[in-house]
């Protein structure tokens, strides 16, 4: 069962949440955040502030690269979950408006997604009523957005993209590449 800490904090430093060859997430100083608990364990934060989020959803195949990186920079709100969330230099701030927003976001997220404690990292950006989600665990990466699904593990990967008039699926495993396009 999830819970949101009653206190809202201000971040007193720039903080790197994720630093991986395929994705990076940094949060700017003065961002505000609330702690998320799951089964009484501190498992993450709801963050609002200046964010730089990059994911290389590029599949390198024997026929050439396919896909484009995801770049989100600017003022954003997101949920970050991990078994061991980073320790940060925080100071309490009473922002009830943000707390209500964070609670509503968590409610929606945990309703839509079954969460289990694991060693990886989960980042979820709200997009309308849904979420764009990144799951990172060791060298495995999954990114799900409204227009694409990207799965990567070492030199294996799958990219599913919705184009204007077709759905494209590319799978790559070393030298083997399969590209399928289904017209709507």
């Amino acid at each position: 069962m999830w819970k949101l800490d009653k206190e809202v904090y201000r971040l007193n430093e720039n903080k790197v949440f994720l630093d991986h060859p395929k994705c990076r997430l940094t949060v700017g100083e003065n961002s505000i955040l609330a702690k998320v608990f799951f089964n009484d364990h501190h498992v993450g934060y709801v963050v609002q502030g200046y964010v730089e989020f990059f994911v290389d959803t590029i599949l390198e195949t024997s026929e050439g690269a396919v896909g484009k990186p995801v770049r989100k920079t600017g003022h954003q709100t997101f949920i970050y979950l991990s078994k061991q969330p980073p320790e940060m230099n925080l100071s309490p701030t009473g922002d009830k408006e943000f707390w209500a927003k964070a609670y509503s976001l968590c409610e929606k997220f945990f309703k839509q997604n079954e969460y289990r404690l694991h060693k990886g990292h989960i980042v979820a950006f709200p997009v309308g009523d849904k979420f764009e989600i990144l799951v990172l665990k060791n060298n495995k990466l999954v990114y799900i957005s409204l227009s694409k699904i990207f799965v990567s593990k070492m030199d294996h990967g799958v990219l599913l993209e919705n184009k204007r008039d077709a759905r494209r699926v590319i799978t790559s495993a070393g030298e083997k590449t399969i590209l399928m396009e289904m017209k709507f």
Partner: protein, 182 residues
């Protein structure tokens, strides 16, 4: 002619056809035997015969006997109307129509490169110009840059375009040799 006579005539025709089938089967078996015995001369003649038969068949197919005599028909392959977005294609062709950008694509076709590596491999292109060329290649979808590591990678479209350019270059060379003015 009565029905009985008609049936009799058909029986005769069937007998004639049976005989023909037998003859053809025998001939076919003989041809196969020639090949089996390893008789080179016969084998060659059998193959030559089949080729000639094939050619004859094709010629016969193309000669039609119509009510006004014989005429030769030649099937023309229908040329499909080109179906593409001119603006999109022009963007790709614009990106390709530059010596330095083709050099960059050639290097990237052997693997992803950081900007510094490209500068080292292409010393004739200045750093500023190189970045500008890479931007044009990216806009045309021929190259993509990683957000984290920053490497430049050739895309499937880029690799395909390079293959087409390669074929075009070969063809241009051949045609150029054929049309050398003396």
């Amino acid at each position: 002619m009565s029905n009985k006579d008609e049936i009799e005539e058909l029986r005769k025709e069937i007998e004639v056809l049976k005989e023909k089938i037998k003859e053809l089967t025998k001939l076919h078996e003989e041809k196969i035997r020639y090949i089996d015995t390893g008789d080179v001369e016969n084998t060659v003649s059998v193959i030559a015969e089949s080729i000639i038969e094939g050619i004859r068949g094709e010629i016969e197919k193309s000669i039609l006997i119509g009510p006004h005599g014989i005429y030769i028909s030649r099937e023309r392959k229908k040329i499909k109307t080109a179906d593409f977005d001119e603006r999109e294609v022009a963007k790709i062709l614009d990106a390709l129509a530059n010596e330095n950008r083709l050099k960059i694509l050639k290097v990237l076709s052997t693997g992803g490169r950081y900007l510094k590596e490209l500068q080292e491999e292409l010393p004739d292109i200045s750093a500023g110009t190189l970045s500008s060329h890479l931007n044009i290649l990216q806009e045309a979808g021929l190259v993509v840059q990683e957000a984290i590591r920053g490497r430049y990678l050739i895309t499937i479209l880029g690799r395909t375009a390079l293959k087409i350019v390669n074929k075009l270059a070969k063809l241009a060379k051949q045609l150029g040799e054929d049309h050398v003015e003396t």
